[in-house]
């Protein structure tokens, strides 16, 4: 299926992917992240339960140096 991550199109083979699975797939395990799905924040507690569907728009953000 096709989803958008941080504005870029991304193809995923498998369907029914959880956020947690996606994080692993994206090689982001252990990183401190916040995720927005179609404009709604997904609490970290729900990463295992929330599934990603075709066409979902995800924003994955972290803290960087800034002033």
């Amino acid at each position: 299926m096709n989803i958008f991550i941080n504005g870029n199109l991304k193809q995923l083979e498998s369907e029914n992917v959880t956020i947690s699975a996606l994080i692993v797939a994206l090689n982001l395990t252990g990183k401190r992240l916040a995720i927005e799905k179609n404009g709604e924040i997904v609490p970290r507690s729900q990463f295992d339960s929330v599934n990603i569907c075709d066409g979902d728009k995800l924003e994955i953000v972290s803290a960087v140096g800034g002033g």
């Binding site: 090689n27 916040a34 924040i41 953000v61 803290a63 140096g65 800034g66 002033g67």
Partner: protein, 262 residues
């Protein structure tokens, strides 16, 4: 001397808040922040770099949230909506962290604040339970409105972000300080240690800076200079400076007992 800075109910010993941007690397960032003695550090919220090699170091490893109070900002936001959205993500990212720096900019050339959007965002964030430290212009009326909305600190600019021009209008800052019942911190425009001392002598409760340290030839040494300047300016303000007068009433040495009177 027990003279703490209270922000949103928490006491801080350091009145210098610093940004974490523009450094050569995280090692320099950490060294400079240690030298500055800062307890509150600002961070930006940005899209995670997808596809980056795992194990690549992150800012949080160099500045553990257990050691520092994070102040996520909304740098780069030009609307209330973007700012609110960014800080909600920040709160989630930082496990419900409520203390944030709100800044909504007016244009990318001057980075001057858009006070209309800033007020709109402040209302939403305060209602949403955030502790809002708000970056704004040196407009005393806007500063008061932001206080009335419920911001926990108002942070007027000294001059444009990254300009290093120092305090362009000390009179407006003076009015803001006189009228405020919440902490007033100068944010943006400080260029040197003397600028920081001037700000504190005006009676500011603190100073937030980034470029003045990160863009110095020797950031770590400048960070130490800033620490001392903030303390010097604060103590000078508390100690009560001598009056200014064009002519001095009296020299520092006795005027009697001069041998020249012989």
């Amino acid at each position: 001397m027990n003279d703490e800075l209270m922000i949103a109910g928490k006491a801080y010993q350091s009145r210098l808040l610093v940004g974490t941007g523009k450094y050569k690397d995280f090692k320099e960032t950490r060294a400079a922040i240690d030298a500055s003695g800062a307890q509150i550090v600002t961070v930006a919220i940005r899209r995670t770099n997808i596809g980056q090699t795992a194990g690549e170091p992150s800012l949080l490893e160099y500045l553990p949230p257990e050691e520092f109070t994070y102040l996520p900002n909304t740098a780069g936001c030009y609307s209330a909506d973007d700012a609110v959205r960014t800080l909600r993500l920040a709160r989630e990212l930082l496990d419900g962290h409520k203390l944030v720096k709100l800044e909504v900019l007016g244009d990318p050339k001057t980075l001057y604040p858009n006070v209309i959007e800033t007020i709109a965002a402040a209302k939403t964030l305060v209602k949403d339970g955030f502790d809002v430290m708000v970056y704004t212009s040196d407009d005393p009326i806007i500063a008061k409105q932001l206080e009335d909305i419920g911001c926990c600190a108002v942070m007027p600019l000294a001059s444009l972000i990254g300009s290093g021009m120092g305090i362009l209008n000390p009179w407006n800052l003076q009015i803001i300080i006189e009228n405020a019942k919440i902490p007033v911190l100068v944010d943006a425009g400080i260029g040197s240690a003397a600028d920081a001392a001037v700000a504190m002598e005006l009676g500011c409760d603190g100073v937030l800076m980034n470029t003045a340290i990160a863009a110095a030839r020797d950031p770590v040494m400048m960070a130490g200079a800033m620490k001392k300047a903030i303390e010097a300016g604060r103590e000078s303000f508390l100690a009560g400076r001598m009056p200014k007068k064009l002519y001095s009433a009296s020299p520092s040495s006795p005027t009697s007992g001069l041998i020249t009177a012989a």
